[in-house]
Amino acid sequence: MTTATQGSVGTAHTRIEGRDKVTGAARYAAEIPFAELAHGWLALSTVARGRIRSIDTDAVLRMPGVLTVLHHHNAPRVDSDYVGLLGVPPDPSVALFQHDRVVHMGWPVALVVAETSEQAREAAEALVVTYDQEPHDVAFSAERQAEAYPVDGHAPGVMEKGDLEAQLASSAVVVDAEYTTPEEYHNPMEPHAATALWEGGRLEVVDSNQGTTWVAGELANLFSLDPASVRVRSEHVGGGFGSKGVRSHQVAAVMAATVLQRPVRVVMTRRQMFSLAGYRSPTAQRVRLGADADGRLRALEHQSLNMTSSVHEFVEPSAAASRAMYDADAHHTASRVVRLDVPTPTWMRAPGEAPGSFALESAFDELAERCGIDPIELRLRNEPAVGPVSGLPFSSRNLIACFEEGARRFGWADRDPRPGVRRDGRWLLGTGTAAASFPAGAMPSTAAVTAEADGTFTVGINAADIGTGARTALTLVAADALGVPTDRVRVRIGDSDLGPAMIAGGSTGTRSWAWAVTAAAEELRQSLAPGADIPPEGITVRSNTAEAIGALAQKERHSFGAQFAEVAVDPATGEVRVRRMLGIFAAGRIVNPLTARNQLVGGMIWGISMALHEEAVRDRATGGVYGADLAGYHVAAHADIPHVEADWVDDPDPDDPIGIKGIGEIGIVGAAAAVANAVWHATGVRHRHLPIRPDRVLMAGGDA
């Protein structure tokens, strides 16, 4: 059922908090003042594996302003044996200072708390910690496959149908290629920051995170507190991309606030974020495609390997990305992990799909080349009617519409398929395309909508606006459900006291919250007699979508998209510049075209950045990241980004009250492959290892 409304949803609306953001009035986690605030600074290990032999706190405690040093001998005990909101146990790395083991370089070994941040920093740096160092192993490569094992994350680790070897043997064309992606870091512009304090018997945490319900629940579990006695607020969040869940900074702040009984703020430095804030694991992937001469697939195999820490299994489900895309008689996918002495990786924008689509969609381009078929035509020929592995129907699948619209607008029909034949001065030019998909889902949430006596409405929904425009989107959704203009609706978010709700993650946030808001608002609207007086305290209706979401039929539910890129490559220097990029998406009903376009383009820019720039190098000798800062880890800058355009085709989700699917991640999916395929078209050289650095382009005699 799609609600047809002639209202605010679907119209461009500037951000509700826009004025606060452009004037500097919007306060982020580390910017809310507290009386008697103390500052905590984390001290991190300088070895990658071993045991803490000694921590010399005496000298540091005598330094000016130092209040306490917390470490494994004196820190409050925490319990990490639980399953949280997202249905998984926590990474035990967040159980800070509970033992003397060091499991990776940059492991938190102590928190120094002082009156000022300058004092805390100097004391933390002066803290002498000695270790019994043990040999470490951080060497990730495709060769580690032998020690790897499959892990079920949010998708099964292994899914197989058909006889792969037989189908490969009977294929006219076989592509067999290995692809790698490096360690990638979220690097939200706002570093992780939390202030913790006890007030009236309740633990209050002002934090920067992607879901205060989630973080409050984790903290209650960790510190064995009644969930009702924990309140987490997170009004403005300076980006998250998967990295802002429960992390050492909140746990450290809570410990120190508990010990000192005063507010304590802990902020990660940019450098610390490279060992404490999570990252996307490097991947080593192998794709084998077997096809008839006309390009129809007989065999599809996608194997992916990622690394995880020695204390927690995290799988980057890159191979799972292939399960909804294309069918083949034999279809084998497996995502495996190898355990190393590294920090635990985590979700990062389009986990699985981002690296997985690079491999799969690059391999498809190779297959198109080998078959002599246009890359778009190849995809059309392999368009499945139902879920290739599940056999379930698609809720909607408008991939072909995306390619048709994109091809028309990009000018694909005029493309000469031959590589390496277009030149503009010192630049070789090429174009490339790739398909994109990302799961569409909704998670149970609660909302409260109040009709106020003054004729306005207050919506309480514990959403997180990490830059997605959720606050604005939910205002539009609520206005339509209430049948009022947006200026009569006030939306409150980012406070765990508002009640349980889904996190901003998995491209499910806006859909999950909008569903709950719509349910409460529609019920309220129906219950309000026209012209009836509203009491001074207002009339409030609450909703909980658990039942409705639980009743959804099993289907293949995804957003889809078609990515197009044009690149210029200087073969003399190896420089690659993206000249233009277009993405056309089928991603459900678009709530706010202004912010949605921005977010989709932002995802595509992540794809450019992934294709050309992003790479953290782990030093095998030290076990840490080399050049762990924003000069060593390059994200795309203004000058790297040309005019990038995103648009969409009509694709309302038939099973969502508003028709929403979710747009947070689909923009990055396939984007790196489109760029890499364009580099091949420009130069005739396949780049299967990201990022496509100048030195790789320069030295690639044949295939790179």
Partner: protein, 330 residues
């Protein structure tokens, strides 16, 4: 960061006196490198002498027809100066290729010359580094070095000098002026940076306690036809993986004068004198440009992962000299 004293100097002799040869004191210019190094713990000065108020912020004609650039001239003012852009365009381009608009507004000419390497091991105080901690070793040689030196390095250090500005200054034979308690002195840029050898921690030939007061560019007619090209791993706001400052004067198809310097390949801005020698008097064509590059790069000692720089610099020499030659004939 350790606690430190702060003094602001208003004249050159006062600045030198305030520092007083104190090994734990540092001059503070724009702070764009020093303050960062203090935060990471690489630098731990006990006293900062702020020299930004010194009357060294002018660009003026030098007596011999060259240009004298004061030490506290900001990168922005240097790059925007009409005489620099007209007579030494590669210098303005080099400065504009460095850092960002914000940082160029802060950074000074003197500070730029003294900036430290961006080697990740140098910047990480938990790591060994012969430049930061003599005798502790050089992890880059066996570790991450894909942006390290191919020329003039040693078994003790393979770090590169990060300056773009310095590359153009090296090409144009700049002379650095300084002041000490014993009076003024001068160092040609060619002698300003010390060879790496076994002492990578000793970076310049400046006497202890010396304050850079300015840089003088000799009159260099060939510099009017010059260019700076920088290759990096993103299109802007990144250090070079290879760069070149080049100036070329061609008459009747023959090289009459040429200047070449390389960036991001050595512990100092690398003046490519062997290449220049090979070109003087030779026909200005791609073949000779390649031969000249080869003459310079014959001494390159690439490590396992930075051999691409040899190819990159060779290609840059050919590309940039070819562009200049073509423009000369237009």
């Amino acid at each position: 960061m350790r606690e430190f004293g702060y003094q602001r100097a208003y004249d050159v002799s006062g600045a030198v006196a305030l520092l007083d040869g104190d090994g734990e004191a540092r001059f503070l210019g724009g702070g764009t490198n020093l303050v960062d190094l203090m935060k990471t713990g690489v630098e731990r000065p006990a006293l900062l002498v702020d020299v930004r108020e010194l009357p060294l912020d002018r660009i003026e004609p030098a007596g011999d027809g060259g240009l004298r650039i004061g030490a506290t001239v900001t990168n922005s003012d240097l790059a925007a100066h009409p005489e620099v852009r007209r007579r030494y365009p590669a210098l303005a381009q080099a400065v504009l290729a460095g850092a960002s608009g914000q940082l160029r507004n802060m950074a000074t000419v003197g500070g730029n010359l003294l900036q430290r390497t961006r080697c990740g091991y140098f910047a990480d105080v938990t790591s060994a580094c012969n430049k930061r901690n003599p005798g502790s070793g050089c992890p880059a040689i066996t570790g991450e070095h894909h942006n390290h030196a191919i020329l003039g390095a040693s078994d003790h250090c393979v770090a590169t000098h990060p300056s773009d500005m310095g590359v153009a200054l090296a090409a144009f034979d700049a002379v650095v002026s300084y002041e000490t308690a014993d009076g003024p002195g001068e160092l040609p840029l060619a002698d300003f940076y010390l060879p790496v050898g076994e002492t990578p921690h000793l970076e310049t030939a400046l006497p202890p306690g010396a304050l850079i007061t300015g840089v003088t560019l000799p009159p260099t007619p060939v510099a009017a036809d010059s260019r700076y090209r920088k290759v990096r791993e993103r299109a802007s706001y990144a250090f070079a993986i290879g760069s070149i400052a080049a100036a070329l004067d061609v008459e009747d198809g023959v090289v009459r004068d040429v200047r070449l310097a390389f960036g991001a390949v050595a512990s100092r801005p690398w003046r490519a004198r062997a290449a220049e020698r090979a070109l003087l008097g030779a026909p200005a064509d791609a073949e000779n440009f390649a031969a000249a590059a080869d003459a310079e790069l014959a001494h390159a000692k690439p490590l396992p992962h930075n051999g691409y720089k040899v190819t990159l610099m060779r290609n840059l020499v050919i590309a940039v000299l070819s562009e200049l030659a073509e423009e000369a004939t237009r």
